[in-house]
Amino acid sequence: MLKKILDFWASVKLAMFLFIMIALSSSLGTFIQQNDSGSKAVFWLSDKLGMSHEQMYTWLVKTGLADMYSSWWFIALLVLFGVNLTVCTFYRLSHVYRQLKTPVAINRNIFGENSLSFETEGDAESKVKDFLRGYSVVEEKDGDTAYFAAEKGRFARSGVYITHLGIMVILIAALVGVTVGFKGNLGVVEGQSDDTVIFLDKTTKKLPFSVRLDNFDVKYYENSVKPELYRSDIAIVENGKEISKEVMVNSPIEYKGYRIFQTNHGFYPNRDLAFIINTGKEGNLKKIAVQFGQKFSIPGTEISAEVTDFAPSLGQDSKGELVNFNTLMMNPAVKVEAFDEKDVSLGYKWVFQNYPESGQAGDMKIEFVDVIGAQYSVFSVTYDPADYLVYIGFFILGLGVVIAFYFRHERIWVRITDNGGVKEISAAADRSKFRSAIPELLEKLKQSVTKEG
């Protein structure tokens, strides 16, 4: 009885059935957009099935189709798959172990229908040995007859099981990751800090530390709206201690098992912007931070100034008039109004961050260095204690498929009978896959043994 149950769980048939079931069911989730009540699929289905939109979505939620990759039946399929794989692998382990431990042996009875026989007059034995270079060879002599057995790549038999082991490790790691780990979003405005991660389902979680965004920068390719780089300078604050880090796309940071990724950014219109400005006489600039409407004096002169406007992407339209195109921070500029010592306006000027010479007036200079508080950055915060286990699984799986598919166990048996000068040779072979190429292999052996010289 137990054997029957084990046989069932170890069967390749079950595995093949599960392949198809997982493939079919997971394809569903790609057509019905997950966790989205407003997706096209919902409209289409409700239209075709004559249900109201709400009914349809409720039905999708109930069946798990709206979030199917975490629905009980899909997880159950994956668990079945894992059990099948595990049982199957352990079931056959002793058999494989024996195969891996047993070196090839002389076999006097293997030469029959499938072997190749031929005659030659040369020094057959040394030529056979030559051919078998790269194999591990055993030989035996019995009167006028010499027997050879050779093999290579015995380890290749382990490939299938290493592959399966890799998948098992990945499945276990995924299970741990899903149950213990999380991934959520954390949005921070420049100059502020936050410690609350928001998840897709709108629930939140407090982190044991807070993240302060000191500066966000986006760089564009020249003459293009294509971004080249996003960078957030952040500080991680925990118990009054600060650590400064730089987060970029593809270069996340790690802190106590949490990883922080750059995922999104945007413009945050508000009045509390801080403008970092270099100002003074040419060659003697001072760095200051000012806000809208806050007067500052230009060092070394009697003149004062204030920032009256800010444009994130200032450019010229077709008529040559200044216009702000978007909020992508492609060409940020500040409008600076200057006043003389009697507080009489001297006029205004747009100063561009990307063009320092735009703030030149005589030997006075105002450079717009940066603006703080105009942008926000969205980070993904992930926590997965089994992360390293996944990588171990990846490594094992990769190693397994390479061994399983690019190496093979090959065995060759040769018998040489000395018949008064003429040597009768028989050869047989076996390999762990592509058996149909065995005759070709034997033919090669024959060619190399009967070759002159």
Partner: protein, 358 residues
């Protein structure tokens, strides 16, 4: 010399070569076969030079690290790279199996890939990389995926030829399946080309062309009926004349068994590359860029489905010794999934993995 000029030369060469191969199949003259073989090699050499030229241009233009600039980062470049792999496979098969029979089919696939690029007008210029694509895993992931796709497409050709050689009765399910799959494949390619031509003549192409968008927008219920009818006719033609392929194979004494072996072999070559490059490296990259190695994104999911179908094939073939029609039918199904993963997902479903968008 500019890389696009060389790409153009090799594209045209592939298409002309396909015609030469077909002529060879019809007339069975050795000299025509030789010409075809040399033309393929010529196209391949041009293509290789173009590929490296573009690589260098890319690196120069954007001052990226050399390995960050391998030209496989958008649909245009990836399709060209795919065609390159298929043609390399064709040259290998000709040498290994001493037959030029597969040439017509493989250059057809390479030609279709190139034609698809030209018609959908996928942005051809060298485009700067968006930040998410600047990763060393990209080189490994994208390159290996396309090599695997190329191996799978060769297995598809071999599987179709194997199925044809079995001379199944027209009523058999497997026969219907493979002829309809082949018909669908050809129909979709023709449809995309036709749609492009229609959109072009109506001057609806401005900058970016959205495949099939033009036709779908114009079409009423009647239009769809006609379209479906055309599709049905194409499939029926393939269904009706599928047997002819077997006669052609006989003329060139193509062994049914050898085609079955080749199917298995190509899947055996492609599967590990797909596992490591497509799935594992893809997952590592996703983990580095988005913080999750697996997020059931449509592209990921379809890659997994493709992987499962081929895993099914390998278990059936290796453990259960399926060598008949059923196994090759699974190989055909695997390729249908491959195509869907590669192009269908980008056209029909959008997700995180939208870099291949047109």
């Amino acid at each position: 010399m500019n890389s696009s000029v060389l790409f153009g030369i090799s594209s045209i060469t592939y298409m002309v070569t396909m015609a030469v191969y077909v002529a060879y199949l019809i007339m069975k003259k050795e000299i025509i076969g030789k010409v075809a073989s040399w033309m393929v090699i010529f196209g391949f050499v041009c293509h290789t030079i173009a590929f490296f030229l573009r690589w260098v241009e890319f690196a120069d233009t954007y001052k990226l690290g050399f390995f960050h600039s391998i030209p496989v980062t958008n649909l245009y470049e990836s399709l060209l790279f795919f065609a390159w792999c298929v043609v390399a496979g064709n040259i290998w098969i000709e040498r290994r199996y001493k037959t030029k029979f597969m040439g017509a089919f493989l250059t057809a696939i390479a030609g279709m890939a190139v034609a698809f690029v030209d018609t959908v007008g996928a942005a051809k210029g060298i485009q700067p990389l968006v930040p998410a694509l600047k990763s060393n895993w990209l080189l490994a992931h994208a390159t290996m995926s396309f090599i695997a796709y190329a191996a799978f497409s060769m297995s598809f050709v071999a599987a179709v030829l194997h199925l044809a050689s079995l001379r199944l009765p027209r009523r058999s399910g497997v026969y219907i399946f493979w002829t309809v799959a082949l018909g669908t494949f050809v129909f979709v390619t023709l449809f995309v080309v036709g749609d492009f031509a229609a959109a072009l003549s109506a001057k609806a192409v401005e900058g970016a062309y959205k495949p099939l968008y033009f036709t779908f927008k114009k079409m009423g219920a009647g239009g769809f009926a006609v379209l479906f009818l055309v599709y049905a006719v194409v499939c029926t033609v393939f269904w009706f004349s599928g047997g002819k392929l077997a006669c052609l194979m006989d003329r060139f004494s193509i062994d049914s068994k050898a085609m079955e072996e080749l199917t298995y072999k190509m899947i055996s070559v492609g599967f590990p590359i797909f596992t490591v490059g497509g799935l594992i490296f893809g997952a590592v990259w996703a983990d580095k860029a988005w913080g999750r190695y697996w997020s059931w994104d449509p592209k990921e999911t379809w890659a997994l489905i493709t992987w499962l179908i081929y895993a099914f094939y390998l278990h059936a073939r290796y453990v259960k010794d399926w060598t008949g029609a059923k196994a090759s039918a699974v190989a055909v199904a695997g390729f249908v999934c491959t195509i869907f993963t590669y192009i269908g997902v980008n056209l029909l479903i959008s997700g995180l993995h939208s870099y291949g968008a047109l």
